[in-house]
Amino acid sequence: MAVDNVRYRIGKSKGFRALTFVFAIACMVPLTAILFFIIRAGITRINWHFLVNIPRPVGEKGGGIANALVGSVIIIALASVIAIPIGILAGIYLSENRTGRLAYWCRLAVDILQGIPSIVIGIIAYFWLVKPLGGFSALSGSAALAIMMLPVIVRSTEETLKMLPPSLKEAAFALGMPFHRVVLKVILPVGISGILSGIMLSIARITGETAPLLFTAFGNPYLTADITAPMQSLPLLIFNYATSPYNDWHDLAWGASMILLLWVLFLNIFTKLISAKWKVQL
C-alpha cells in the first residue's frame, strides 16, 4: 500500500515534469512557424529591384519598397536624435539621485511611459504636432517614436550606471574634477556598453511600431525625404498592403516583413552578444 502510494507520487511528479517540458517547448512552435513562414514567403520577392524602386500601382507587376526603407531610416534617425540625449541625461539624473521627490516621480513617469499603449502615444503626437503643424508629417511620427524610446534608454542608463563601483566616481572627485567631467569622462565611458545596448534595444522596439505612426507619419506611396510631409515606413507599408485585397501588394508586404523581421532579430541578437561580452545586465 505504502509502496503504491510512493509510486503514485513519483509518477505524478514525472507526469508534471513531462507536462512542463511539453508546454515549454510548445512555445517555440509559433516562433519557428512565424520565422519560417515569413522568410519563405519573403525571400523570393527580395532582389535589387525590390530595394530601389517604389511601389507600382495595383495591376502592374514589380515595384519595390524603397520609399518605406528610406522613410523608416529617416523617422528612426530623427527619433533617436530626440530621445537619446534626453534619455541618457534623465538616466544619469536617476542614477545620481537614488532618493528624493523628483527622482521618485521621474521613476514613476518612466514606468508609466513604458506601459502606455502605443496607440495612445499616436493620439498624443497627433494633438501635439500634427494638428498645430497643420498636417501629417514624418516629424510627428519621430516624436511619437521618441516617446516610446525614452523609457528603455532611461532604464538601461540608470541600471548600468548604478552598478558601477562608487570608488570610481570618488576617485575622480578626489582629483578635483568637476561633476560634469566626472560624468562625461569617467562614468559614461565605463558604462557605455550598457547604454549602447539600451539604445539598440529601443531602436529595435520602435522599428516595428506601427500604431503611433498611423495618425502621424501616415504613409506615402512616393519617395520623400521631407520631414514635414507624410512619409512611408516599413511597418506602415506592411499594415496597409497586408490588409489590402491585392496579391501584388501582399507580395510587397511579405518582402517588407522579411526585411523588418531580420533587422529586428539582428538588432536583438547583436545586443545580446554585446551585453554577454561586456557582462551588462539589462
Partner: protein, 320 residues
C-alpha cells in the same frame, strides 16, 4: 625703447604667479558654471519626463471632455456605436478588449508558467535552456504588425477550418477567438521571463528542506516554489495583461473590426485600441473624435494602474 619696458616687469615671478592664479581662478569659475549648468540639465531632463506624462494625461482628459460632457455614462453602457447617427456606446469595445485579453491570458498562462518553471527550476542552465530563453525573448521582439500579417495568412484560415468543422453559420476566421490566439502568443514572454527570475530566487535551503522531508520534485514545486513566488508570478501575469489590453496592430488586423456587440467567441468584434486605430483618421465630428480619445484615456488609465501595481509588487520582492 619704450615698448619693451613693461616686458621685464611682467616676467618677475610674483607677477607671473598672479596672472597664473587669476587664470586658474577664471577656469575654476568656468568649471563651476558648467557644472551648475550640467546639473540643471540633468534635473530638467528628469523633470521633462514627469511633465511628459502629465501632459499626456492632461491632453487626453481635455480632448475627451466634449464626449464626457455629452455622453456621460451612456458611453460605457451603450451597446450601439453608430457615428453616422451620433450614437456612441463603447460597450462592444470594452467587452471586446476584456474578452480578447482575458482569453489570451487564459491560453498563455500554462505556457508561460511552464517556461518559468522549466527555466527556473528544472533546467536553469545548459544550451537548451539558453536557446529557450532567447527564443522566448525573441517572441517579444517580433513586431506586432508581423504577428498580424502571419495571423491573417496562417492562423485565420486555420480558425476558419475549425469553425466549418463546428458547423458555424458564417465561418469568417477573423474574430475575437483568432485575435485572442495571436495575443496569447505575443504576451507569453512577459509572464515567463519575470516568473523565471522569481523562481530562480527561491532559496536552495527551502527546496532542500522539502526534499529532506521526502517530497517529490513536483510536490516541492507545488508546496515550496509556487507559494514562495506567488506574488511574483502574479505580477508577471499582470504585466502580460497590460500588454494584451494595449496591443493594437495584430488585433486590428485579425479581429474583424465590427462594432456590433459580439454574439459568441468566434464573432468579429473590436477592441478599444483597434477601434481607435481604424476610425481615428475618419473621425470628422468633434464628438466622434472625442469619443475615440475617451477610449484612449480609459486604455491609458487601465494600463497605467495595472503596470504600476505589477511594478510595485516586483519592487517589493526584489528589495527584500
Amino acid at each position: 625703447m619704450p615698448t619693451s619696458l613693461p616686458a621685464p616687469a611682467i616676467s618677475t615671478p610674483a607677477v607671473r604667479d598672479t596672472v597664473n592664479i587669476r587664470r586658474r581662478i577664471r577656469r575654476a569659475f568656468r568649471q563651476i558654471r558648467t557644472e551648475t549648468v550640467f546639473k540643471q540639465a540633468l534635473v530638467i531632463s528628469g523633470l521633462l519626463l514627469v511633465i511628459l506624462v502629465l501632459g499626456i494625461l492632461l491632453t487626453l482628459i481635455t480632448q475627451s471632455v466634449p464626449s464626457i460632457r455629452l455622453l456621460g455614462f451612456r458611453f460605457i453602457w451603450g451597446s450601439t456605436w453608430n457615428p453616422v447617427k451620433d450614437v456612441y456606446g463603447a460597450f462592444p469595445f470594452l467587452l471586446g478588449t476584456l474578452l480578447t485579453s482575458f482569453l489570451a491570458l487564459l491560453i498563455s498562462i500554462p505556457f508561460s508558467m511552464a517556461i518559468a518553471i522549466f527555466l527556473g527550476d528544472y533546467y536553469p542552465t545548459g544550451w537548451f535552456a539558453s536557446l529557450l530563453k532567447n527564443a522566448v525573448e525573441l517572441i517579444a521582439a517580433v513586431p506586432s504588425v508581423i504577428y498580424g500579417f502571419w495571423g491573417l495568412a496562417v492562423l485565420v484560415p486555420m480558425v476558419r477550418g475549425l469553425e466549418v468543422r463546428l458547423g458555424m453559420q458564417q465561418p469568417l476566421g477573423v474574430g475575437i477567438f483568432s485575435a485572442s490566439l495571436i495575443l496569447s502568443i505575443m504576451i507569453i514572454p512577459y509572464a515567463a521571463s519575470l516568473g523565471r527570475s522569481m523562481i530562480q530566487m527561491v532559496p536552495g535551503h527551502l527546496k532542500e528542506a522539502a526534499y529532506g522531508l521526502g517530497a517529490t520534485r513536483w510536490e516541492m514545486i507545488r508546496h515550496v516554489v509556487l507559494p514562495y513566488t506567488r506574488s511574483g508570478l502574479f505580477a508577471g501575469i499582470l504585466l502580460s495583461l497590460g500588454r494584451a489590453l494595449g496591443e493594437t496592430m495584430a488585433v486590428t488586423m485579425i479581429i474583424g473590426n465590427s462594432s456590433i456587440l459580439p454574439k459568441n467567441l468566434f464573432a468579429p468584434g473590436n477592441t478599444m485600441a483597434s477601434v481607435i486605430a481604424n476610425e481615428f483618421t475618419e473621425a470628422d465630428k468633434t464628438v466622434y473624435l472625442s469619443a475615440l480619445i475617451e477610449l484612449g484615456l480609459a486604455l491609458f488609465l487601465v494600463t497605467v494602474v495595472i503596470n504600476i501595481i505589477g511594478k510595485k509588487i516586483i519592487d517589493r520582492l526584489t528589495n527584500d
